[in-house]
Amino acid sequence: MAIVSIPNAVATSERPAKSRRINRTRLPAALALLPTALIVLVVYIGCMLWTVRLSFTSSTLLPKLDWVGFAQYSRLFMNDRFLVSAENILIFGVLFISGCLILGFLLAVFIDQNVRAEGVFRTIFLYPYSMSFVVTGVAWQWFLNPGLGLEKLVRDMGFESFTFDWLVNQQMAIYTIVIAGLWHGAGLTMAILLAGLRGVDAELWKASRIDGIPVWRVYLSIVLPLLRPMVVTATVLLAVGVVKLYDLVVAMTLGGPGIATEVPAKFVMDHLFERNNIALGTAAATVMLITVVAILAPWVYAKYIRPQGRPA
């Protein structure tokens, strides 16, 4: 997979004269990448192909290698639950990523205002990321439950007509998942963006102050574009979480009320392990995979694969 010969940017100008020597010195780099190449080939590509292959079989509890064509896919696209899952992950993905970026950016900017106890705030915003959802989901579930949490508390204070029943409302339940997701992920985004803010040149602030540009404009029009790499990193990390969204849903709603908060990863998991239906589960996984590739491939290609020069 990793064969040495593409000219490297460092030596581009002197390529003809030095290429042979460089080839030799680049061999260790290729060797260093070899284990990863093997893992990618065997584990990532191997498992992807295996998954795709199984989606064309009638496997139930154990994999078997027969061939049923697209039967599982036609089942899948007739399946209410899968369609709801797909819609939910779209809603969640958009709201969660944009919400984390906005909230994370705001938190980072506000923390960057020379506040007291900065460390305390930072830790408070960041700690949720260190906790697993197995039980923090329960805490959220209680808080959002109309009979136990917020609604009851506000009513007990005397506001009898206060209603907050998103968790048990089919139309709104998915948004409670977004809220808990924001709680979990916004801190990480904040940390990454804060790091970016701290890297902004101090001269910029002096200059903008002298020019009398309002602070919010500087943040929006100058700083934010500078933070692009951080935003991209954060988005990638968050997007990985979106595709794999599972624990949170299981802990908070188990996909309910009804099937209102089902998500694709849960569909896959349930069919692989609970319902002894490997074929349908892998078909769903394949659809997820294709979707992810379709969305990401252009970006990955443009950013990482095509440019043969040194990436900016």
């Binding site: 997979m1 990793a2 010969s5 000219p7 490297n8 010195t25 260093a32 990448l33 190449a37 893992i39 990618v40 584990v43 990532y44 191997g46 498992c47 992807m48 998954t51 938190l107 923390i111 960057d112 205002q113 506040v115 930072r122 915003f125 960041l126 700690y127 990321y129 260190s130 906790m131 697993s132 197995v134 039980v135 805490a139 136990l148 940390a191 790091a195 970016g196 701290r198 890297g199 902004v200 101090a202 602030w205 951080m230 990638v236 990985v240 794999k244 990863a265 896959v268 998991m269 692989l272 392990f273 892998t282 996984a285 995979l289 992810v292 491939a297 990482y304 694969i305 043969q308 990436p311």
Partner: protein
């Protein structure tokens, strides 16, 4: 890098704007601490009080029983030794996995960003896509692969699994980090005749501390909280703490002691929490040190 001072506007007097800033931060902090608060007060209440009461209220009968029970006597099957059993297993899994996955990420990131190896970008592209596949899909084929090689259900096995699934993120972070470093450093080292490994150990690695901290924080969190891989690959002798946590929390047909659940969760989260408290500052400083220049 020591110049990590806030760069924003910097009035010191208590203006309306300052009050607004604090109001926003404190409101946000309340939102973020809410679940933790619920968990803490619940863990300190006896079960009767939990059944009856207000989930936000401070316990009327403060008790630490649940914590003691969660740590040392909650039942997870026949054994009633709490989650302390898995603690050392988790540590044994954590340390080598974190070290090896960071090493792998650093080497990959270095080779990918500064050495032009044919096919490397394709390799990286696939790796990135791989990060988006739900883990569950990998379980069955990986079990088959590991059992043919004879290391299935061992400490080594679970460590390899963590390294494999840490690769995409670790590689991405280090690749971006090294790409952001001034290229002149690398050029100079090359002109001095440094080879691949020499430059890595002498030049790159010493400059990588900030990124290593970030990577370590992410990996410690991810690996410590992992449940499904530990359950599937570690073997009975090495089951991590999260498996016990899950056993306590998710009994299928039995009473759920919420106070013990909450205490167990907080105990299980202790290691990542400590890491965050201790290194939160470096976490931010870490990425600040170089990543934005790209």
């Amino acid at each position: 890098m020591t110049t990590v001072i806030p760069q924003g506007s910097r009035p010191r007097r208590l203006t309306a704007g300052r009050i607004g800033i604090y109001a926003f931060l404190i409101t946000a902090a309340l939102f973020f601490t809410l679940p933790l608060w619920i968990m803490i007060v619940t863990s300190l209440k006896p079960m009767d009080e939990i059944r009856l009461g207000n989930i936000l209220a401070w316990p009327a009968n403060l008790t630490f029983d649940a914590w003691v029970k969660a740590w040392s006597s909650a039942c997870t099957g026949l054994e009633c030794n709490g989650i302390s059993v898995g603690f050392w297993n988790s540590v044994r899994i954590l340390i080598p996995s974190v070290i090896l996955s960071i090493a792998a990420g650093a080497i990959n990131g270095y080779a990918l960003s500064l050495w032009r190896v044919r096919g490397a970008n394709l390799l990286f592209g696939i790796l990135l896509l791989g990060a988006f596949i739900p883990y569950q899909v990998f379980l069955y084929p990986l079990v088959r692969i590991f059992s043919t090689t004879g290391i299935y259900n061992s400490l080594l096995c679970i460590i390899i699994v963590h390294v494999i699934f840490g690769l995409p993120t670790m590689t991405l972070l280090f690749r971006n980090y090294y790409t952001g470093l001034p290229i002149e450093l690398f050029k100079a080292a090359r002109i001095d005749g440094g080879g691949f490994w020499t430059i890595f150990f002498r030049v790159m690695l010493p400059m990588s501390t900030p990124m290593i901290v970030v990577a370590a924080i992410l990996q410690v969190t991810g690996i410590w909280n992992d449940f499904i891989f530990g359950l599937t690959f570690a073997g009975r002798e090495n089951l991590p703490m999260t498996v016990q946590l899950n056993n306590i929390v998710h009994s299928t047909q039995g009473e759920r002691a919420y106070n013990v659940d909450m205490a167990a969760t907080m105990l299980a989260a202790l290691v990542p929490l400590v890491v965050y408290f201790v290194s939160g500052r470096w976490f931010v400083r870490g990425i600040a040190a170089g990543a934005v220049k790209g």
